[in-house]
């Protein structure tokens, strides 16, 4: 452990620590532009110069390029170093334009800070300033190249860290340019990080362009709820509107970056069409009136049909408080058990995943970056949980092998082996890899269940279509690796796959490898929903119950089944059959106009909440601001109204759990904070899955993982998928996520809608040939519910005999029958 003295203070740091990092640990901020903890050092900007007074060498050196070593004595305030840095700043400012007042980075600009603190004020150079033309880089990023100081952070991030090639450095020397070869939308779904990473204002946030200054924003630590990873963000709000979201450093989950879906997926919060008043039978009312009517009508139904005729459904975007309150109210009023997830299969898969997520196996997302073998089973990281793709890239950059077993045309920003297996074949395919990789000698030493599991892996039928050589190559890699990680999806996979992933990880661990397990789940709070939901209860079962007439009233709590349920006709008929449909939500979803009673709720940014991400990490989010109708809206684009009012307009909505609490006897008396604690006590007391839930105050800012009791005895019970993949000439339909456009909340963001390409249906080239279809053709799928029309994309890297439809709101895809997984080839036709 080298010991180093910086500015007369000594510190012991880990070997390999750069001097700039050692200084940071001491709280000394050495100026930097090109150095970034996630990107490392290149020593390009020359602004981190410090003077080495004693040690292996002396004189002015770049602190980001020198490893801390014993006997080093460093001064950051030495005259020579200060003068050096000052002149560096002056050079960097030679061509910097005089546009801070109209630059959105002004106020949080590293260059501004360094210039002011370095003491540079008047430009002495009399020459003209160099200028550049700017480029259109899509709806998210504004380009202003004049401001560039050539630190290369953007191209290093974009090409090295991020793995995309369409933005980089061009020209040379004094005329170096950072941009695309041709103007156009940036390809990377992580491009928003360029805004955070640029030390000046070359890349600025376009949706919030010219909205305000960083110092005016109410900045609050927040959480991304646009996928199950739960990345940390900073929400900036101003004038009662969330205007910007940035990445917040979290060493366990997302590191320094977030994806664009998370960065821009907040627009639903401040939309003009967001419902803010209660409604019953089309009349506006106060929340209290709405609640009174709701109670009265529920009582009427209880009187005629009994309390079991009422059901309540939540969704995986509910906060833990809401999820718990739904269950608590349903139990207290003896309604039907509440449904949280869309269908039985998902419920079963999520529940399995939770029950086998052993603390010894589970890894954090950042741990994936140090894995040396990652097997992705039935997950499409870039589309389902984009930041996972970035983690995989980091692993790959460090030499890991990435193997993806997925039927979809998976695309990752790194080199990987794709084995396009249909959902059932994932089992056999990956089983074969494991089976080949483990030596018989190793396996013989294992316990009986592990041995049995091992032999069952080989027993599977070889239904996959890929080459044996690929299996062998992967097996070879797996054999030599030390830290393999199984990443497993829960959406398109068969019911057994989550258990398979866990068992394989357990097997590898038993075989002496530091194996890890990582699930991707459908929705932010799917983990908590899975813990709370009963087996065989889902929105689908509720619909069946409505059709059978046993459920007469349905309360949808921040839940829009129309978005996810594949059979729109059926669900609409079911909703019409209801005597009472009550909806509480903070977005104007499709079910809101259908509701008899509507009660507005608050968003994550207004009420906060507890969220449990897919690895079981409990995270508490505090409200970002007080709520209310944005001033831009009350002022109608002009100045705010000239009236005195002590009341903020539009703060009537309450958190869903506060509204629900008023349906039982608690809630009226206690305030929001006490109610939160009360809900938590109830959870710990009455829900066995939550008995280890830490208290609100004990949850650290990074979140804390909580697990059920370790379940290692549950391993090796995984069964083979029950076949059913008989080839009858029909195409298997997979409804899948896309990075943009398929997640409900982020679909409200106009800028992301612009990014979401026109949704298209994917098909393997062999099927397309057979059907006489070409890439780019407009095709129509004639289904029972209606016709889905979209452009056809013919691809090679997917499983054949399969049709992939994105769950895109614009596509109107919900025309299938419940449980329909296959369509006949004659149902597909070309539209001229």
């Amino acid at each position: 452990m080298p010991k180093i003295i910086i500015d007369d203070r000594d510190i012991e740091v880990a070997p390999g620590t750069k001097v700039i990092e050692a200084a940071e640990q001491l709280g000394i901020m050495i100026p930097r532009f090109c150095y970034h903890p996630a990107l490392g050092s290149v020593g390009a900007c020359r602004v981190c110069a410090v003077k080495f007074l004693q040690g292996p060498f002396k004189g002015v050196q770049m602190s980001c390029m020198v490893d801390a070593q014993d006997d080093m004595v460093v001064s950051t305030t030495d005259e020579e170093a200060v003068a050096f840095r000052k002149s560096v700043i002056e050079w960097l400012m030679l061509h910097h334009p005089h546009d801070c007042p109209v630059c959105d980075a002004g106020g949080h600009c590293l260059l501004q800070d360094m210039t002011v603190s370095g003491g540079h004020g008047i430009r002495r150079y009399p020459g003209k300033k160099r200028t550049y033309h700017d480029q259109y880089l899509g709806p998210l990023i504004q380009h202003e190249m004049n401001r560039c100081i050539h630190c290369y952070r953007c191209s290093r991030f974009y090409q090295e860290f991020n793995g995309y090639r369409d933005l980089g450095a061009m020209q040379s020397a004094n005329q170096t340019y950072f941009g695309r070869f041709e103007e156009g939308i940036l390809e990377s779904p992580f491009s928003g990080n360029l805004i955070d990473i640029c030390p000046t204002g070359v890349y600025t946030d376009k949706p919030s362009r010219y909205f305000g200054r960083r110092w005016d924003y109410e900045r609050s630590p927040s959480l991304c709820i646009n996928c199950s990873l739960g990345c940390h963000t900073i929400a900036s709000s101003r004038y009662r509107k969330v205007v910007r979201q940035e990445a917040r450093l979290n060493e366990a989950i997302n590191g320094h970056f977030i994806c664009d879906r998370g960065r821009y997926g907040f627009s639903y919060n401040s939309l003009k069409q967001r419902p803010r008043t209660a409604l019953f039978d089309g009349q506006t009312a106060s929340i209290d009136e709405g609640l009174a009517v709701l109670k009265q009508r529920l009582q009427a139904i209880v009187d005629t049909d009994g309390s079991a005729a009422i059901a309540c459904a939540g969704s995986s975007r509910n906060s833990l408080e809401t999820l718990a309150m739904i269950k608590r109210v349903s139990q207290a009023r003896s309604w039907q058990p509440p449904a949280y997830l869309i269908d039985d299969a998902i419920t079963a898969k999520v529940k399995t995943a939770i029950s086998v997520l052993d603390p010894d196996l589970a890894v954090e997302m950042r741990e994936i970056e140090s894995a040396d073998f990652v097997a992705v089973l039935g997950a499409d990281p870039l589309n389902e949980a984009p930041m996972l793709a970035l983690a995989l890239r980091q692993a790959q950059r460090k030499g890991a092998t990435i193997a993806v077993f997925d039927p979809r045309p998976v695309c990752l920003p790194c080199e990987f082996t794709h084995l396009p297996a249909d959902p059932d074949a994932i089992h056999t395919g990956f089983g074969a890899v494991i089976n080949t990789a483990l030596d018989a000698a190793v396996v013989d030493k294992l316990d009986a269940p592990a041995r049995e599991f091992y032999s069952s892996l080989a027993a599977g039928e070889q239904t996959f279509t890929f080459q044996q050589t690929e299996i062998d190559t992967l097996a070879e890699k797996l054999k030599t690796c030390q830290r393999p990680v199984m990443v497993c999806g829960t959406e398109i996979v068969s019911r057994q796959t989550p258990a398979l992933a866990a068992d394989c990880a357990a097997l590898l661990q038993a075989a002496g490898k530091a194996a890890g397990l990582f699930y991707v789940m459908p929705g932010t709070n799917a983990f908590a929903a899975g813990l709370l939901t009963d087996e065989n209860v889902s929105v689908e079962t509720l619909i069946t119950a409505i059709e059978q007439g046993s459920v007469k009233a349905l309360i949808l709590v921040e839940c829009n089944p129309l978005w996810q349920f594949p059979d729109r006709q059926r669900i609409e008929q079911a909703l019409q059959k209801l005597e009472l449909l009550a909806v509480t939500d903070y977005v104007n979803s499709e079910v809101v106009p259908k509701a008899n009673i509507f009660l507005p709720t608050t968003t994550l940014y207004e009420s906060g909440g507890i969220y449990i991400n897919q690895e079981g990490r409990v995270q508490v989010v505090e409200p970002a601001y007080r709520g209310g109708i944005p001033i831009a809206e009350t002022g109608n684009g002009d100045h705010p109204p000239r009236i005195y009012d002590s009341q903020i307009p539009g703060v009537e909505p309450q958190a869903a759990w506060q509204i629900l609490a008023q349906l039982i006897d608690i809630g009226q008396q206690i305030n929001a904070n006490d109610l939160r604690t009360d809900i938590q006590h109830w959870l710990i007391k009455s829900e066995s899955g939550f008995n280890q839930l830490p208290g609100l105050a004990q949850i650290p800012p990074l979140g804390t993982r909580f697990f059920q009791a370790p379940n290692s005895q549950k391993h090796f019970e995984c069964q083979q998928p029950n076949g059913g993949s008989t080839d009858d000439g029909r195409l298997e339909v997979l409804v899948t996520e896309r990075t943009f456009g398929t997640e409900e909340l982020s679909a409200y963001s106009a800028c992301l809608q612009e990014l979401a390409n026109a949704p298209c249906i994917c098909m393997h080239s062999s099927d397309a040939q057979q059907l006489n279809l070409n890439d780019g053709d407009q095709v129509a799928l004639e289904l029972n519910g209606g016709v889905i029309e979209a452009r056809l994309q013919v691809v090679e890297n997917m499983a054949p005999a399969m049709l992939i439809i994105p769950r895109d709101g614009k596509l109107n895809w919900q025309q299938m029958e419940t449980g329909q997984t296959r369509i006949r080839r004659d149902q597909i036709r070309k539209v001229e």
């Binding site: 546009d99 007042p101 200028t131 550049y132 033309h133 061009m170 020209q171 005329q175 305000g212 100045h639």
Partner: protein, 178 residues
């Protein structure tokens, strides 16, 4: 004793001085009858000026509202056709303003200026809240020359890239020449 005499002497001088003042003409300027012409840089009512071309100078950079010690300035910036950044609305609460002039000092575009016009007393407190239309004037104020967008380097209707003062033509990025 000497001290006592000194003290009495000092007291006597003091009393004599004030007594003499009794017979001097008061130097008071009586305000409504006589209005002293104030220097151009005296600090009273705030205005938003225009640049020599007649366009609004304010770019809504928020520096005045940031520096304002009583937080009496609020605004909303936005983008105009032609690429200029401007204040969609701009509000000064003169009931709160202390006329310290920090806003004028902070203003990078010479837009916000204090004028010597100090007689703006009103009964209704809401009428002290000035909106942009009340603040915007049709002249350049004290700074007759400055036009921010001619120096800023951002492309607007005032000038495209490389057309501003002291700027080179934009770099041809597809050339290999240094």
């Amino acid at each position: 004793m000497k001290d006592a005499i000194e003290a009495v002497k000092a007291l006597a001088i003091g009393f004599a001085t004030t007594f003499k003042h009794l017979f001097r003409k008061p130097i008071t300027e009586e305000y409504p009858e006589y209005k002293r012409p104030l220097p151009a840089r005296s600090r009273a009512r705030i205005i938003l000026t225009r640049d020599p071309d007649g366009a609004e100078r304010c770019v809504a950079c928020y520096l005045c509202s940031a520096v304002c010690p009583v937080s009496c300035i609020s605004m909303q910036s936005a983008e105009k056709e032609g690429g200029r950044r401007y204040a969609q609305w701009f509000r000064i609460n003169f009931a709160r303003c202390i006329y310290c002039g920090f806003c004028e000092e902070a203003c990078p575009t010479s837009a916000i200026q204090l004028t010597p016009q100090f007689e703006n007393c009103k009964n209704d407190i809401l009428s002290f809240v000035y909106e942009k239309k009340d603040l915007l004037v049709d002249h350049q104020g004290k700074d007759k020359e400055y036009n921010f967008y001619k120096y800023a380097g951002v492309a607007t209707d005032v000038g495209q890239k490389g057309e501003h003062i002291k700027e080179e033509r934009p770099v041809n990025i597809k050339s290999n020449l240094p």
